[in-house]
Symmetry: D3
Amino acid sequence: MLRTDGRNDDVLRDIRITRGYQQWPAGSVLIEFGNTRVLCAASVTEGVPRWRSGSGLGWVTAEYAMLPSATHSRSDRESVKGRIGGRTHEISRLIGRSLRACIDLAALGENTIVIDCDVIQADGGTRTAAITGAYVALADAVTWLAAAGRLADPQPLSCAVSAVSVGVVDGRVRLDLPYEEDSRAEVDMNVVATDAGTLIEVQGTGEGATFARSTLDKMLDLALVGCAELNRLQSQALALPYPGVLPEPKGKKK
Amino acid sequence: MLRTDGRNDDVLRDIRITRGYQQWPAGSVLIEFGNTRVLCAASVTEGVPRWRSGSGLGWVTAEYAMLPSATHSRSDRESVKGRIGGRTHEISRLIGRSLRACIDLAALGENTIVIDCDVIQADGGTRTAAITGAYVALADAVTWLAAAGRLADPQPLSCAVSAVSVGVVDGRVRLDLPYEEDSRAEVDMNVVATDAGTLIEVQGTGEGATFARSTLDKMLDLALVGCAELNRLQSQALALPYPGVLPEPKGKKK
Amino acid sequence: MLRTDGRNDDVLRDIRITRGYQQWPAGSVLIEFGNTRVLCAASVTEGVPRWRSGSGLGWVTAEYAMLPSATHSRSDRESVKGRIGGRTHEISRLIGRSLRACIDLAALGENTIVIDCDVIQADGGTRTAAITGAYVALADAVTWLAAAGRLADPQPLSCAVSAVSVGVVDGRVRLDLPYEEDSRAEVDMNVVATDAGTLIEVQGTGEGATFARSTLDKMLDLALVGCAELNRLQSQALALPYPGVLPEPKGKKK
Amino acid sequence: MLRTDGRNDDVLRDIRITRGYQQWPAGSVLIEFGNTRVLCAASVTEGVPRWRSGSGLGWVTAEYAMLPSATHSRSDRESVKGRIGGRTHEISRLIGRSLRACIDLAALGENTIVIDCDVIQADGGTRTAAITGAYVALADAVTWLAAAGRLADPQPLSCAVSAVSVGVVDGRVRLDLPYEEDSRAEVDMNVVATDAGTLIEVQGTGEGATFARSTLDKMLDLALVGCAELNRLQSQALALPYPGVLPEPKGKKK
Amino acid sequence: MLRTDGRNDDVLRDIRITRGYQQWPAGSVLIEFGNTRVLCAASVTEGVPRWRSGSGLGWVTAEYAMLPSATHSRSDRESVKGRIGGRTHEISRLIGRSLRACIDLAALGENTIVIDCDVIQADGGTRTAAITGAYVALADAVTWLAAAGRLADPQPLSCAVSAVSVGVVDGRVRLDLPYEEDSRAEVDMNVVATDAGTLIEVQGTGEGATFARSTLDKMLDLALVGCAELNRLQSQALALPYPGVLPEPKGKKK
Amino acid sequence: MLRTDGRNDDVLRDIRITRGYQQWPAGSVLIEFGNTRVLCAASVTEGVPRWRSGSGLGWVTAEYAMLPSATHSRSDRESVKGRIGGRTHEISRLIGRSLRACIDLAALGENTIVIDCDVIQADGGTRTAAITGAYVALADAVTWLAAAGRLADPQPLSCAVSAVSVGVVDGRVRLDLPYEEDSRAEVDMNVVATDAGTLIEVQGTGEGATFARSTLDKMLDLALVGCAELNRLQSQALALPYPGVLPEPKGKKK
């Protein structure tokens, strides 16, 4: 049985990674997983939050948000509601945690990198697209800091990070679910992995149902295949030169 | 004396209008005034806010926001701060007011159109770009409603609306200021006008200085020239067919 | 055609300016434009906000608010709602901007003046009454600072500031609209001007209608006449001695 | 030993009660206890809060606030802070409770009276001045409702309510403390009483000290004397005719 | 006429005081007044709030809250509502004030003690139980600080503090009201007293009724009897050894 | 190598389950995992949230919170901060989702069960203790609803739910981590499972490190052993009679 968009169960949607999408941040990447489009920007500031100051360690954090117009029916703006919802909080924390797993904060030195992941268009898998794009933006921000001579150590990144969703839909284990599948999946799982094939985060949830251990195993197998393919596309995108003007050594903060 | 970007005083930056930028909203326009890029989405919902219900009149409102990564140094997210700033409120109100001046709310029928103007990249003139793009998104949303057979009256739009900034920089009256000029302008003015040459809104401010009545007159002259050119570009963009799939008459709400 | 209150189109309402209305602030003025009554208090504090500290420059800012009982039907308290509305924000920013245009912040030295404009009774034109009264309160606060020997320079005020509304009502351009006219005006404009006849701020809005350039010109003419008369009344009020006890030189902060 | 302002220990400050201070609310009273000035406005609305709807009972509630410029050094605006402080809450609740003790809510019918007590100038005793003034504003609002024919029963007020502070200062029990005494009182007490000499509320607090039962007794004696005098002044003020235009029977809501 | 729970009018409910209820805070007491159960924890931190820093004085403050499941029908969580209600504020302030009356803040030295009173089960009298239990937790925290050698002076506590409610129910003056009596009391009073028989706070309120001076006197008599009995139970509980491990002198902060 | 508390790697801490801890909620359970103590209360209300009304389906939701005094150093109260943190949101959502997996909402009928999980003392594993205790509270609430004759169907619970943490500490895979181990674990995982051995939720995170697929497998094996033991203890606790008074059929809501 083919999927609505014609893919086989183990195939990713079309993935597009556009570096240098915005002019100001040190890293700015538009990532597309099919119709899902997320803008991932990595902004560098000198210094670290007060609670970390003087430790010699840098800091990486992330904020996820959705444009009101990104969803099928318009969603209310969290700034207007005056509070951030539970889902937004949860995903922001997940992205930050995932990226911190691949960076040596001592090597980063006392610099802060904030990753903003803003969903321009949502069609399932926004959090996994965000993590995958955020890694590329982070890599560009690190290149920028290296050029500026502001790293404590030349290569703070220890591995590449990507993420993908898997789920059980119509009784079949499938990779990279669009909204149409996600909304009726019996089990839903997000996996964050490194290019060494190790895991950073695994979150699997039965949606009004429970699932067997063997199903979990199959989903993990498929997710790791997806992450490996995403790592390949990240490498390919990062093989091109930095998409903007790099600062001079000891350049002033951006 | 030429401007930093080589333009004459009375020339707009490069203007680009991309319709159909997002797939879900009835109107979705990316507008660019040079490096300023604003995504304007017009979402349609059936019915009107409670205080207006039963009046037979429709409603048009707008929300303006800036991505944190849109500005030279990253700006804090208003959803995280838990409140909307004065500037954001002011611009949202201005956009809504400007669009309501060109639409017959009785003809719209009891439908609500929310215009979201999200600044992707900021380089001066974000509010005027937002108004100019929002009109195009609004026109698409009206076309969508017409196709769905949901308008009380066939043509609710009475005129086209565009906006531009003018200012006094280096002692000269200049059109469409980028950030570099805007930040050091002595006088700053935003003008919203119709394609009939009439005015909707005029906001002129001395920035730590006052200005003569004659300066005001010159700025208005120049702004009206700019608005006329923007109207021409809007017409040109709207001459192309609707960039998505129109609903069937009496189609269900989008 | 006479106006409801019997005035000609180009005549202000009865204006009353009462200095020294409250005992604690350095400047405290009750201003009345007919039935509109606004209490304008200028409070002085030593030092400036942190972001300005060490610059040698002073700071002037304003907060506008309305008593719940000031309006025809009681309005909800913004402190109870837990957020300040867009209109309040907008007017507070306008008042602050207008006053900063007439004061040399270097001459003020590192002092902060906060102007609180609290509407006791609303009958149209509250923002223009607030600006006009706030200038008088500011002048008293400057006198107080001068007596205390705390100014960096003897006369930081470069001009006087007043404001008035004009509008098109029943097809006629009219000065200083009460609520009854304001609520049905086709065009509404607020003009802030100096006693030198120059402009600080011009805000004109079509209310569900657009307006011709020539209408704008007529409204500006009339507004400048009104502002000149208001400047005359401000001078007259300020010709009387300071309405309280002035501090001794190097006196302690108020 | 005389008090700083020359009064004997058992004498009130100069009390002034001005009815009809504002034009819109059904009752609007400026009350002054010496330099303490509080504006008490009673606004009438048809109907009651949802949780009370259909009960046949009316509702009376109060909101207390302080202008930023009312205090010796300017206090921050609670609307700007985005939350109401504990002291404000406490006093608002006290005022509401005190007034509800003197009114028969069944006789009031399904009408709501909101009493806004806004402190224009603070010099000690603002809450007791507020209660005393609020009663007069409430009485005017009841007269207004009676004229409009909207009461379920002709006389809903069962008694008059006034309040006064007493305290131990310099080892002496004193009546109606101004700020200078209040800030150094060892014991501080607020008493709300009726014109029948019965009590509604008694709140006594040792300020960093404890106090004997006999001291409490002396303070109560003195407070009841003060309340009786305040009742006399309320009657005197209310003996004059209603200070505005009364509605016609079955008149529309104010 | 016996009370529902069989007590005489002048008898307390069963009082139980359990020290050392939690492991982390320096003082942690579960106090029970019949079915009312309040957990009172006294946490010690080095230093004082910024506004008090350098004064040599310590600080004691309190926060009161109710578990949603503590009340007959579940109450909404204040953290979810995003704001603290008036009643919560009022009680928190009362507890803090009451405890500060019995402690010499200079002797405490620059330490802060925060008392958290969380109601586990509510059946009337939660605020008086909280004060009575909080005193015991405070005493344990002081013992802890003494052991750590962090007090400026050996014995900062000048007296013991307890509190009890009294009220008029069914026309009779009764001690320590459970919810069933409290909810229909005509007069309700909370009294905070010391073991020396002096008063700290007296708050009496007519609930939709007024009360005579003589009733107030009878309620006070009864409350003082109740407080004396509570003091006896506090002493008895504190006669046992400190229920945890005391720090070594100059031990690190807890 | 033994663990600090002497357990083997595959052994749970002492688990205690106390039903009927509070008197008002239909289910109230104190659960202890060693020193971690969580109070889980299940409150029943008739009807469902508005968005679900008329569907015939019931609703189960959860709120998690921590007493300020529960943690080693006191944590700030979220109600005072005015917003709920990301971690709190995340855990509340997890508990709700886990419980909804074991209940047939159609069988529940239009009733709402809110589960409040309040941490009295924290020593690692608060979220897994909360889920395990919440299931028991939920079972009691269902018994209560059955007795009241308010269920649409006699047995809405399809399975039992328990949860436990596992992690890699000192290079060893260990079950049910206390705070001392949790804070230095290299990998941390929470598993929610049913008494049928199927999974509801799996959340594994590398803490500043990544982990191999084989480690994940070992952690899952161990977690499922732990959950089975917890299920046994839940059954044992629920074998005792309902710890309160059950309502009569068609009894009024609790």
